[in-house]
């Protein structure tokens, strides 16, 4: 059975995604790390679906749809920010800082 190993791989990938979000300042790379985390969760859904029924796979389908919407809107925001700041470095995006 691959359930335990799959959940372990999922845990490692999720932690790498979190480390990436904390480590990087390039907003586009941060977005890619978020995609990495979503994929890690998808892996655990699919692994559990093998044992508990196909509904887990349907949830993965929804996660992918939401990830696609999130990527489209997020990247549009990146373009809008780049137009104002000429940079996507999150250090320089501090308009809301007091």
């Amino acid at each position: 059975m691959l359930l335990g190993p799959s959940l372990g791989v999922s845990a490692i990938l999720f932690s790498l995604g979190v480390a990436g979000v904390l480590l990087r300042r390039n907003a586009i790379v941060i977005f890619m790390c978020i995609e990495l985390m979503l994929n890690a969760v998808n892996l655990s859904f699919v692994a559990l679906a093998q044992q508990l029924g196909r509904e887990g796979q349907v949830i993965v389908f929804f996660v992918m749809a939401v990830a696609a919407a999130e990527a489209a809107v997020g990247l549009a925001i990146m373009i809008a920010i780049y137009r104002h700041k000429s940079s996507v470095n999150v250090k320089e995006i501090n308009l809301l800082r007091g």
Binding site: L2, P5, S6, L7, G8, V9, S10, A11, I12, L13, F14, S15, L16, G17, V18, A19, G20, L22, L23, R24, R25, I28, F31, M32, C33, E35, L36, N39, N42, L43, V46, A47, L48, A49, Q50, Q51, L52, R54, E55, Q57, V58, V60, F61, F62, M64, A65, V66, A67, A69, A71, A72, V73, L75, A76, M78, I79, A80, Y82, R83, V88
Partner: protein, 173 residues
């Protein structure tokens, strides 16, 4: 170790190493390409876990559409060159990898999860279901019966995302 397990561990190693390279490469394009490699390895693992349709749309939607969108924006904003590094300093890196390692230790309890006996399907049930109904029907049957309302809400969400992306990226309305 059986053949399936050997293949699983090979693709697991590919996924983890690519993910590590994805978060450490300086150039965003290199990061994106390593992420594509991770996504392909995950698609292979999905096949091993009897999720054939999910594996197919992982390649089509994630590795195809979403990553092309990322690369397109990187090229559009002309960020492809490896500039000065955007990572934190050495102290910050050590702290962040410590946080990541701590998270792995915390999540490691998942590895020992055993689903309750009465919830578990008999061994090979998903394979049998896929053989009976076909890979697409395994998903579409619950999707269009039990999950019909979430499915329709997703379509509205995607419409809102399309409109939102156009509005945000447009120079002047």
């Amino acid at each position: 170790m059986s053949g399936t397990e050997a293949v699983f561990w090979f693709f697991a190693a590919v996924a983890i190493i690519s993910a590590f390279l994805c978060i450490t490469r300086r150039s965003p394009v290199a990061s994106a390409l390593w992420l594509v490699s991770t996504l392909f390895a995950l698609a292979a693992i999905f096949v091993l876990l009897d999720a054939h349709f999910i594996a197919a749309i992982q390649v089509l939607v994630y590795a195809g559409a979403i990553m092309v969108l990322f690369l397109f924006v990187i090229m559009l904003l002309n960020l492809g060159r490896a500039g000065p590094t955007d990572m934190l300093g050495w102290a910050g890196r050590l702290v962040m990898f410590a946080v990541g390692a701590l998270l792995v230790v915390e999540l490691w309890v998942l590895v020992r999860i055993v689903p309750a006996e009465e919830l578990q399907l008999p061994t090979g049930a998903m394979v049998q279901l896929t053989e009976q109904e076909g890979a697409v029907r395994v998903i579409s049957e619950p999707l269009f019966r039990g999950f019909l309302v979430p499915f329709e809400i997703t379509s509205i969400l995607l419409l809102a995302a399309i409109v939102g992306a156009v509005v945000l990226a447009k120079r002047k309305l």
